[in-house]
C-alpha cells in the first residue's frame, strides 16, 4: 500500500493539469457568461419546450468550448483564482444541462418553474398535480450518459392542493 501516495500526486496533478494545459483562447469568465445567457434566456423566468430543446444543444457546445478552448494561466501550486473558478464553471455547465433536462420533463408550471405552454387563462402558473406532484430526483449515470430520473411521490395528507391564489 505504501506506493499509493506517490500515485496520488501524479494523478491529481494530471487532472488539474488538464484544465491548465488546454491554453485555448476563451477566458473562464467568457465561457461562464455564455452559459449564463443560455440559462437565463431558456431556463429563466419562463421556459418553453422548444427553447429548452435548443438550450440542450447550445449547452453541449459550451461544454465543448470549455474543454477545448479554456485559457487558465498559472499553476496548481499557488493561489490561483482563475483555476478555482474554472473548476466551478465546469461543474455549472454540467448542472445547467441537468436543469434543462429537468425543466423539459416537467410539463407543468409551478412556482419558479413557469412553462409557457402551461398557464391559466389569466396567465398564472398551471400545475398538473395528477402527473407531477412528485420530486424529480436525478441519478448520475457516468460521463456522457443521460441521467435517470427517480420519483418521490409527494403525499399531501393535511393540505388540500388548490390553485394558488393571491387575489
Amino acid at each position: 500500500m505504501t506506493w499509493y501516495p506517490l500515485i496520488i500526486r501524479s494523478f491529481s496533478k494530471r487532472s488539474i493539469q488538464k484544465i491548465l494545459s488546454i491554453n485555448g483562447s476563451s477566458t473562464v469568465d467568457e465561457i461562464h457568461k455564455e452559459l449564463g445567457k443560455i440559462m437565463w434566456d431558456y431556463c429563466g423566468m419562463s421556459r418553453t419546450a422548444q427553447g429548452l430543446s435548443d438550450a440542450r444543444e447550445k449547452i453541449q457546445a459550451v461544454k465543448q468550448q470549455f474543454w477545448n478552448d479554456v485559457k487558465v494561466l498559472g499553476t496548481n501550486d499557488e493561489l490561483n483564482m482563475s483555476l478555482e473558478k474554472a473548476g466551478r464553471v465546469a461543474d455549472f455547465i454540467e448542472l445547467g444541462a441537468l436543469m434543462i433536462e429537468d425543466a423539459l420533463h416537467r410539463n407543468e408550471s409551478c412556482g419558479g418553474h413557469f412553462r409557457e405552454e402551461y398557464q391559466t387563462e389569466e396567465g398564472e402558473a398551471l400545475r398538473d398535480d395528477e402527473h407531477f406532484a412528485y420530486v424529480g430526483a436525478w441519478e448520475y449515470q457516468g460521463e456522457g450518459n443521460q441521467e435517470v430520473q427517480n420519483k418521490e411521490q409527494l403525499q399531501f395528507e393535511n393540505v388540500k392542493l388548490s390553485q394558488r391564489s393571491y387575489k
Partner: protein, 259 residues
C-alpha cells in the same frame, strides 16, 4: 473612461513585491471598481499575463472580503462604502489609481492584493461570543431590551471584519474591530454575563497577534465602511479596566509564559 493603474504585484508571501503599471481604456462609468479589475484581468489573461489577485465575494458591501487601499485610502475615496460598492464614476477620466494591499504585520500578503486576516478570527475565538449551547434557552421575549440599547448594539454588531480600521490606522491597531464586538455584546443583557472576561481575553489575543496600540486618532472610524463609532472603543476601555480591577482572574506564571 481611461485609467492608469499602479498595482502592487507579489507572487506569494515569500516573494518581494513591486508596483506594476497598466493602462486600461474604455471603462464604463457605471462599472464597479471590482468590475474594472475583472476587465483588467480579462486583458491580462488574453496577453498571457497572470491576472491580479484580489479578495472579493458578495460585491454588495456586506461580506467584508474586499480590501483594497486605493489612492491612499482603504476602500477608496468615498466614505462609508466597501471597495465593491465603489463605482468608476467616482474617479476622473485619465486618473492614475494606485492600488495596494492592506499593510500590517498582522495581515501578511498572500498574493498581489490578497492578505491574510485570520488574526481577526483568532480574536473572535478568544471570546467574541456568548457562551450558550444550542437549545434550552429562554423565550426570545423574556428579556426586554430597550430600542436604544438594541440599536447601539446593532451599530456595533454591523462590523463586517474587513480590516479597513487596521489598514488605515497609523499604528495598525485593531481596537475598533475588537471594540465593535465587545460593545455589541456588552450592551445586551445576554452578553453582560461574560462582558468583563471577554474584554480581558480579546484584548490579550489582540496584543498577542501584534496589532499596534490605539492612539485615538479616529482614522479607523472615519474610514470604516459601516461607520462604527469611537465610542465603542471607549466602552471597550471601560469594560477592560473594570475587568482588570474587579475580575478574579489572576494570571499564573505559565499563562503569562504562554501569552
Amino acid at each position: 473612461m481611461d485609467f492608469t493603474l499602479k498595482i502592487w504585484r507579489q507572487k506569494d508571501a515569500q516573494s518581494q513585491g513591486q508596483f506594476k503599471t497598466y493602462q486600461l481604456t474604455g471603462i464604463g462609468a457605471d462599472n464597479s471598481f471590482m468590475e474594472m479589475l475583472d476587465e483588467l484581468n480579462e486583458h491580462l489573461i488574453k496577453n498571457n499575463e497572470d491576472p491580479v489577485h484580489f479578495d472579493h465575494d458578495c460585491r454588495e458591501g456586506i461580506c467584508g472580503t474586499c480590501s483594497l487601499y486605493i489612492n491612499g485610502r482603504p476602500h477608496g475615496p468615498q466614505k462609508a462604502i466597501t471597495t465593491c460598492q465603489l463605482h468608476m464614476r467616482s474617479f476622473k477620466d485619465k486618473d492614475t489609481i494606485t492600488i495596494e494591499p492592506w499593510r500590517a504585520q498582522t495581515f501578511p500578503v498572500i498574493r498581489d492584493l490578497v492578505v491574510d486576516r485570520s488574526a481577526f478570527d483568532r480574536i473572535i475565538q478568544s471570546g467574541g461570543y456568548i457562551s450558550v449551547n444550542t437549545g434550552g434557552v429562554p423565550d426570545a421575549n423574556e428579556t426586554p431590551i430597550t430600542t436604544s440599547k438594541a440599536n447601539n448594539a446593532m451599530d456595533a454588531a454591523s462590523c463586517i471584519g474587513c480590516g479597513a480600521c487596521v489598514a488605515v490606522c497609523k499604528n495598525a491597531s485593531a481596537m475598533l474591530f475588537v471594540a465593535a464586538k465587545i460593545s455589541h455584546l456588552a450592551q445586551l443583557p445576554q452578553g453582560k454575563v461574560e462582558a468583563e472576561s471577554r474584554a480581558e481575553s480579546m484584548v490579550a489575543q489582540m496584543d498577542k497577534e501584534g496589532f499596534g496600540l490605539c492612539t485615538n486618532t479616529g482614522a479607523c472610524s472615519v474610514e470604516c465602511p459601516k461607520e462604527i463609532s469611537l465610542t465603542h472603543i471607549a466602552r471597550l476601555n471601560r469594560q477592560y479596566y473594570k475587568a482588570k480591577q474587579a475580575s478574579d482572574y489572576i494570571p499564573d506564571k505559565e499563562e503569562i509564559h504562554e501569552g
